[in-house]
Structures are given as C-alpha cells and as structure tokens.
C-alpha cells in the first residue's frame, strides 16, 4: 500500500501517516511517497498514484487549512480516517542565533509562531515553503537561514535546535485526514473497524439555497432535533462573490446509521448542494504535548 504525504522526510504529515499505520495494525507492506505540497499530495490520491494520502486540515492555533478544504470540494475524495498530532515547532539552523537573517517554513507554521517571529526576528526575511520539512532541508544550505519545523527534521537534515517549542501557545495540535479516491461508493469504514457506532464521525459540505433567511438554522435543526452532536461547523468562501459561503460540517455518527441517513435525506431536500465526504473513526485526542517519539 502506497501512502502519499507532504514531504520531504521529517514532515508532520509523515508523522501522522506513521501514527495511522500503527493504529491500523495492517499486515500490508506500506511505503510512503513524499510530495512537494498539499495540492500535489491530493492530486496523487485522485489519480491513484497512491492508494491513500494524509494531509493536514485543521490546527488548534491557526484554524483550518484553506487549501485542503478547497481540494475536498473540488475533487472526488473519501475521508476514511483522521489523526491528531501534537505539534512542537522548533527553530532549526546550521548557524548560531546571531547569524539568522532568513526564516523559512510553511505558512501555517509561520502563523502559529507569529508572536515568536515578531519578538525575535522582526526584521528577518520570511520565506514560505510547501512543508516544514522542506524548510529544514533548505536551511541546511546557509548558516543565516533557520527553519521552523519539527524536532525530527533537525536530525534528518543535520540542523541544531536553536530554540524548541516556539509556537505562540504551548498547546498545539494539528488534525490530519486520511483520504482515498472516491469511485461513486462511500468507503465502508465501519465493517473494517471494531469501534462502536458512536466513535464515528461524518463530514459533509453544504451550500445553502440563496436568499432563504433561516436556512442555516433549519440545517442545524436537522441535527439538533435528532440529538446528533455537531462537532464542527466551518464556513469557507464559495469564491463566487464576497459574502457567499459553503459550510463544512462534521458531526457524530456514521452514514450507515438510520438516524444519520434520515437527517441527510432531509437536508438534501432543502439545500442547494450537499457533498458527502465520508464517515470514519473519530480520533481520540490526547491533549498533551509530548516530546518523545
């Protein structure tokens, strides 16, 4: 089985993928394929160059990863799992602190360390990269460069950890989704899993009918009146015009449950568009940062 992740080696996506493989207790031979950015990773899933892929979708400090949400809308994908990874960003370099003139990292990591950069490197040049690990790889080239990346990246690319734990909040987790190409059938994640029904979650994208006041209230009511727990609701521009949104909704339950199917059938009747992204085992998050591997 080939799993596509954000590369190169040392990325948080790789860590998430390894965590997922371990949890699956699979007997398949698994190989990781590394891609330059989220877009390339998802393209590889869609065209089946890889069997599944692992990409970040949400961070506890900086929120949604916009490009991942957009790709879920624009491509035929099934979410079959999720992984939550504790994030500890470190400042990595070949040089010493006074040498640093350039800070490199992925835009999400830069945003998670906004205060740190502002306080210590207000005049540094900020470069964005497709992943944190690619930033670490580049930082190996010049002593005046520092990457914001994982502790593991320091080892992989021969860098020193100049300052550990530099994100603006110590509490920092990223949620990753595991996706595969969608062939017209929602992946059967339940019969493969020993989990009880209530440990599943379902993700959908909804576009409400326009000029229909109360439409969002009705939509959420379909869950509330059935006692279905809403886990997350996130708006995202439709990109058609300002003020026009899609809603990304995660809720507890599996599409195979009668009550969930009933809710979705009713919602479909009253919205402009409903896209089913999948039902999958919900990750039991451990809310603590850990430095050990």
């Amino acid at each position: 089985m080939k799993i596509g992740v954000l590369g190169p080696k040392g990325s948080y996506s790789e860590k998430a993928a390894k965590q997922w493989i371990m949890e699956q207790e699979t007997k398949n031979i698994v190989s990781l394929e590394y891609y330059d950015d989220i877009l390339d990773t998802i393209s590889a899933i869609v065209d089946k160059t890889v069997d599944i892929g692992v990409v970040p979708i949400e961070n506890s400090i900086e929120g949604s990863v916009g490009i991942t949400l957009d790709m879920l809308l624009g491509n035929d994908l099934n979410i079959i799992g999720e992984i939550v990874v504790p994030i500890e960003h470190c400042l990595l370099s070949r040089g010493e602190l006074p040498d640093i003139r350039v800070i490199l990292s992925h835009p999400q990591a830069l945003a998670q360390c906004r205060q740190f950069i502002r306080t210590h490197f207000k005049n540094a040049e900020i470069r964005t990269t497709g992943s944190t690990s690619y930033a670490a790889k580049l930082a190996n080239e010049f002593k005046e460069m520092a990457a914001i990346a994982s502790r593991e990246s320091a080892q992989v690319y021969g860098l020193e950890i100049l300052i550990p734990n530099i994100q603006d909040r110590k509490e920092n987790h990223t949620r990753f989704i595991v996706t595969e190409a969608y062939d017209g059938v929602i992946a059967d994640t339940r019969t493969k899993s020993p989990l009880p029904e209530d440990d599943f979650k379902t993700s959908i994208i909804v576009y409400l009918k326009k000029d229909r006041p109360g439409a969002l209230y009705e939509l959420i009511g379909e869950f509330a009146k059935r006692g279905i727990n809403l886990i997350r609701i996130e708006s995202r521009p439709s990109k058609r015009e300002l003020g026009d949104y899609l809603f990304y909704i995660d809720f507890a339950g599996h599409i195979g449950d009668a009550i969930i199917k009933d809710a979705l059938d009713n919602i479909t009747l009253n919205v402009g568009m409903l896209k089913m992204l999948g039902s999958y085992p919900a990750c039991n998050i451990e809310y603590k940062n850990s430095n050990d591997e």
Copy 2:
C-alpha cells in the same frame, strides 16, 4: 483625524481608507498613518496613536484574515464601519519575466494567487511581507524580484506590470473594517448616519458553553425566531485545545433596535461569553472589478 492603515503607500488598506473618507464627506483634515502590518495598525488604534484604523477582515477567495479576528477578540475595539474594495493583483517587477526568481507578497495575496504561482513560478522562492505594497517597495531593489500587489503600487514604486489580474478568480473583493478604541461605550454610529435602520449590521463574538449539545442551534435560533438576518458565521479556534471554537457572527440590525437588544440579552444568558464588536453601516457591495481609480 489620523487614520492608521497598512503601509507603505499603495496598499489596499490605503485604498479602503480613502474610499471610506470620501463616503463620510467629512470636513475634518484627515491624515493617513502607515504601519508595517495588521498587528501594528491595531496596536496604534488601541493606544490611540491614531483615531481610527482600517484593516482587512475577509476576502472572497481566501476567506477570513485570521490575525484580524484574533485581534478583535484580544483588544478593546469598536467596529464603526466597513468598506469593500475590488482587488486586482498584478505581478510587478523592475525586471522582465525570465528574470524573476523571487515572488514577494502578503500571505493572503499569495494564497489568492496560488494557482498562478504554481503554474508560472513553481520553483520561485516565495517571501512573505507585512503588506502587498511593502512587497512592491522591496521588489524595486532587484530585477529578479517580483511583487504581487495592486496596480497603484506599480506607479508608486516604479515597477512594470508584467501580468495584470493574476488572482485565481477574476471576482475578488476584500472587506475592510474601520475600528476605533473602545472606552466602555459602543460607538453611536446611527445618529451620525442618515441610513435607514436596516442598512446596519452588528458584529459579535460568542463562546458557547461547553458540553452543551444543541447550543449553536439555540444561539442561531435567537436570531431566526426574531426574523433577524444572519449575514455571516465564522468559527475560529479558541486556541485552548483542538476542537474548541469561538463564533464570529454578523447579523442585520443595530444594537439600538429593541429586537436586537432583546436577542442579545437572551443570548448572553445562555452562552459562556459574548463580546460586542459594534453596530455600523453595512457596505453596499458592488460586485464588479474595476480598473479605474
């Protein structure tokens, strides 16, 4: 009157501020003060170095400006107005297209031009700046640099427009808010304005009580059952832990309206926190891009 905007000259914030000044038909002498980034601009408003400030909050392609939402939560600010500005990003440089090795811009602009960069400059170095106009200013230094910024920035910094209109969607607008420091009294925007009541909107931030299923449904119900039109609902991480959110809500009406006051009084009783951001004239958006100044 001093107005703080994202600088240097040529920024979209400056354009928004000028548009706002024109609409106000003020007789005061107005001066613009330019700041390095959104954080500095908002700090200047809070400590009253400027009377008001203009910062971007939402874009039709890339969505919310996270730092602005975070600053509205963490500071005492009153929103007193909004402006919608058509955005036409251009690729600006002193050099020719084959010279370009480095692309500079604000992270939001880079995200709005993601496909363009990917198609034409996949191997370019990407640097982020505090504003698009600062990118243009920097790009003037070396021929191998190009900025993604406004048409006006080209004039201000002596750059050529190598490619106009490079954002991923032609339809591109950014909404800016006008804010002032909050001194314990919500700004009276209505008596100063000749607008009818229904041309106002109100912005609040809500933190729901935890472990209370249906809390969001109840919250939205307070608006729905009073026929109050919900304009926007946006979730943002509380930054305490993954899966814990604040809701930023815009709705039609003015805090001075009895029905709005009644709704907010009821909401306050049932939520963990409600922060009032202000009631202000809603911008009548013209959904067309215009190149003329």
